[in-house]
């Protein structure tokens, strides 16, 4: 891990929502080859943190560095190296899986249809290429979204609850895909309430970055509420 290049650094990151801090003084460095699981109870800001790191939300204090450069200066390069799979899968229900993937393929230049079909085969959706997504189950929908990983050229994968609705074999396949990505020098930031079965899993617990007592109290409320 000592020689791995640092990809993302968070400096003094803080986020305020509804007049209370979700987290503050968050300092962390993420290296190539890591899978980092973001931990924290419901409402502790996991999704918010991922949205900030993905560039969806700009509502934060502090700095984010991409390969040691401020994100402001390298936004374009970062965007080219980022795959964000949010809480909402970003799949159009009235399109077929193949049509959905074609649009994502356009985001990163063009990808041949055969590669997209191969990607669908890898997530066990062979034969569903031309079935409208509203006919698929929740787990299959999640698999369509995860098929993006198969043809992605992005270095950083930010995955918000990717294991939701997946069956056991789906979870195992996703885990091995994440391991393969890190072996190729990628970085994975992931939230999950399930245990992730990956060697050398790094953990970032948002509860380690409190601001003050008032904040802690409100976090407890969030945890039980």
């Amino acid at each position: 891990m000592t020689v791995a290049p640092v990809l993302l650094e968070l400096r003094n990151l803080a986020c305020e929502r509804d007049e209370r801090f979700l987290f503050a003084q968050l300092n962390a460095s993420f290296y190539a080859g890591q899978v980092v699981q973001i931990l924290g109870p419901n409402g502790s800001g996991k999704t918010t943190l991922l949205r900030i790191l993905a560039g969806v939300s700009k509502d934060f204090y502090g700095n984010i560095l991409w390969q040691s450069q401020p994100l402001k200066d390298t936004a374009w390069e970062y965007a080219n190296n980022l795959l964000y799979l949010g809480h909402l899968p970003g799949i159009k229900k009235s399109l077929t899986p193949l049509e959905n993937l074609r649009w994502y393929a356009a985001v990163q230049g063009s990808v041949a249809d055969e590669d997209l079909i191969k990607a669908l085969t890898q997530v066990q959706l062979a034969g569903y290429e031309d079935t409208p997504c509203y006919r698929l189950s929740a787990g299959q929908l999640r698999r369509v979204a995860l098929a993006r990983l198969a043809f992605s050229r992005a270095k950083v994968w930010i995955l918000d609850e990717p294991f939701t609705a997946l069956d056991k074999s789906g979870v195992a396949e996703l885990e091995s895909r994440l391991i393969a990505h890190t072996a190729a020098g990628g970085l994975v930031l992931v939230t999950s309430h399930q245990d992730i079965n990956i060697p050398n899993l790094q953990v970032l617990n948002l509860l380690d970055f409190p601001v003050d007592i008032g904040l802690l109290n409100s976090r407890e409320d969030a945890a039980y509420g």
Binding site: K58, L88, L95, E99, W103
Partner: protein, 229 residues
């Protein structure tokens, strides 16, 4: 350059995807057109078939109904993208958001503005619009509906994160639609009287040019704010 080919490919990909979606959701697409058709069909039934009366009000009625039909279709412009998360993906793609927004507006116009324009002459016949006004009706609606799609996109972008944005869109967008309505209806009215209507068309064209320049930028900015919150 790799970037420029990437840029054009996402524009067309979004354009193609939205066009497919428009045709898969035929109900949504046909709804404003049916409203336009029904509302205008009602007018002669309610007012009686007196030619002089209908001729007098035809330009205004057709224009007002076209405007309302456009308004009806705006809410869905970004709504489904917001709900299923593809708006976030559009936002963070290594691609100018303004251009992807432009692709979506173009599809919106092709699915509502253009059909409205094509239907208008038929409805003009129903309201016994003089033959001299048909060209003016088509030209003015062609320019006007495009400007309304563009301006409407700003309203839709501002209200996309609100659960009940429908009323607010109308309030935001209506004041900006009024000049288009005035000059559009006036072009048809003037043409019906057999006079030159180039001035009104020129104003509509200028309005469209300004909207083309500013609306996608404003809509992209508004989308960022809406998704952020």
């Amino acid at each position: 350059m790799a970037n420029s080919s990437l840029a054009s490919s996402l524009f067309w990909a979004t354009f193609k995807r939205d066009l497919i979606l428009a045709f898969r959701h035929k109900g949504d697409m046909v709804n404003p057109l049916v409203f336009f058709l029904i509302a205008i069909t009602m007018i002669p039934l309610a007012l009686g078939p007196e030619k002089a009366v209908l001729m007098r009000i035809a330009p205004g009625i057709i224009w007002v109904m076209a405007l309302l039909a456009t308004l009806l279709s705006l809410d869905s412009l970004f709504r489904s993208d917001f709900d299923d998360g593809s708006l976030e993906q559009l936002l963070i793609a290594p691609y100018p958001l303004t251009l992807s927004v432009m692709a979506k507006i173009l599809v919106h116009w092709l699915a509502t503005g253009l059909p409205l324009t094509l239907m208008a002459p038929v409805l003009g016949v129903m309201l016994s619009l003089p033959a001299s006004a048909f060209a003016a009706l088509c030209y003015s609606l062609l320019l006007g509906t495009a400007a309304m799609s563009l301006i409407g996109a700003v309203g839709a972008a501002l209200t996309v994160s609100l659960r009940k944005g429908g009323v607010l869109i109308s309030l935001i967008v209506m004041p900006l639609y009024i000049p288009i309505l005035i000059f559009g209806a006036s072009a048809v009215q003037t043409a019906a009287l057999g006079e030159a209507y180039k001035m009104q068309l020129a104003v509509l064209g200028a309005g469209l040019a300004i909207a083309l320049l500013l609306a996608p930028l404003a809509a992209a900015g508004a989308l960022r704010v809406s998704v952020n919150g």
